[in-house]
Structure formats: C-alpha cells, structure tokens
C-alpha cells in the first residue's frame, strides 16, 4: 500500500513525530511505500539541523534524515509554516536576506500543494497530531 503521512507537531514536546516515524519505519519493513511525509504546523521543526538532544535520547531530526537516506522517503516541510518558525533552506535564506539556514539533510521545503498531492496519490493518508 502507498501511504502519505502528515506530521502536525514538533519534536519532543509531542509524541506525534515519534509515532509517525515508527509508523513509517514499520510500513517500509512490511513492504509498503511511503509516498511522502509532509510536516506542517510545528511539525516543520522536525527538520532542523541544529537540534542537539542529550546523547542518551533519540535524535528525532536525524532519525528522519536517516529514513530518507536509507529508503528514499520524501520529507517535505511546508514553506509557509517553515518561514513563520524560522526554518529556512539555503535558497529561502538567500531570498529572505538571512545569514544562515537550518534544514537538515533529507528534508526539502515546498508548498501545501505537496500535501494535497499526497492525499490524491496515496492509498491512505495518516495524520499524526495532537
């Protein structure tokens, strides 16, 4: 089956991102396809390259990056939500006159249309939120 995933909460405060990650991993292990993971609301903060969690804790952004690398999962941060919250890739930083960027490897920034497209293309859309 082809799954689309929506993550509506940021890392650590809520379990939504952990649950979405575990779901995606399990689905891939079972031979399913993850069409796209779309990060919205505070969910965009899962894509930060600047998180430094304690060493004995899971590294949520890195977990996602590794999933993207190992299984070519498309991780998309909503551009409008990301800009509000100070999540910028190199292009966006340049465009907005900012001196740094902070989108982790494996994530890309794009529009809300990508969420709707996931809803259209996927067999099932699964929402992880509060």
């Amino acid at each position: 089956m082809k799954f689309g995933i929506l993550v509506n909460e940021g890392p650590y405060t809520h379990q939504a991102s952990d649950s979405a990650y575990e779901f995606a991993k399990a689905a891939i292990e079972k031979g399913h396809e993850i069409f796209r993971v779309f990060f919205y609301h505070d969910g965009v903060n899962n894509g930060t390259s600047l998180a430094v969690p304690p060493q004995d804790d899971r590294h949520i952004p890195n977990q996602w990056s590794e999933l993207a690398k190992d299984h070519s999962v498309d991780l998309v941060l909503c551009v409008a939500a990301a800009q509000r919250r100070g999540m910028l890739d190199e292009d966006e930083a340049k465009r907005n006159g900012k001196t740094s960027h902070n989108v982790a490897e494996g994530f890309r920034i794009s529009g809300l249309g990508q969420l709707i497209e996931a809803g259209i293309q996927a067999d099932r859309m699964v929402v992880f939120g509060d």
Partner: protein, 139 residues
C-alpha cells in the same frame, strides 16, 4: 497538469480547535484555500471547540492577532459548499447556529442562486459523512 489532477477524491478538513490560542485554525484555513486549486470534492467540519472558529463578530485587537474570520465567508467563492457543524458541539457550549456566520455559495447549476453551505448534523450523522471520505485531515 499531471495525472494526479484528474483523480477526484473526497477530502475532509476537520477543525476541532478554538480560532485563537493555537495556530491550528488559521493554518487549517490556509490548507483549505490552497487545496481549492486542486478541484477535489471538499468538505469542512467544525466540531468540538472548532465551532468557535465560525463565531460572528470576532474581535482580536486586544490579543494582537489578525482576525481571519472574515475569510470563511469567501469559502463559497472557492467552490467549497459543504460545511458540516456538529450539533452536539454547539449544544455543549451553549451555542446555536445563530451565533455563527451565515455561509453561502452561489449554485452555478441553479442560475447562481445563493444557497446555504452550512449543514447542521448530529454526531451520528457526522460519523457517516466521515466514513464516506477518502482523505480526512484533522487539525
């Protein structure tokens, strides 16, 4: 247009939270407005505290936030004609439809007659509508 645009699915946007206090309502509305460009079959639901999103005469000056409630009246222009309000959610909060904005759309198949977009449904009826959807986004 890619192939995906020819598929028409039933999309439901479920609004369950107050308009202010958290950003969910505003960002949900942003999704709905973008999604309108995709020519899908769209329904909106306002349930739980989400019914407050449609309250008339909202004033946000004192909290320093933008009052985005006038945007809901434009939904009809985006071809969004199915707006479900859960009756129990209104009752539990001492509200009635009179407290909410009157949302309309113009029916192109009926000489652009103005019609009500709002459907007041019971919790059980809403469950049936949800069951008919292909995609449910809950905010």
């Amino acid at each position: 247009m890619d192939d995906g645009d020819q598929i028409v699915k039933k999309f439901m946007y479920m609004n369950r939270k107050t308009p202010y206090g958290t950003i969910y309502a505003l960002e949900s509305l942003e999704v709905v407005l973008i999604a309108a460009a995709f020519d899908q079959d769209v329904s909106l639901v306002f349930a739980d505290d989400g019914v407050y999103q449609l309250m008339k005469d909202q004033s946000t000056e004192e909290i320093g936030m933008k009052n985005f409630s006038p945007t809901y009246s434009a939904l009809g222009d985006y071809d969004i004609k199915k707006i479900y309000i859960e009756k129990e959610s209104l009752d539990e909060r001492g509200l009635s439809l009179d407290d909410l904005q009157d949302l309309k759309y113009e029916d192109e198949d009926d000489d652009w007659a103005e019609k009500d977009s709002i459907h007041l449904v019971s919790r059980d009826e809403l469950a049936e509508v949800i069951d008919q959807q292909d995609v449910v986004f809950s905010f």
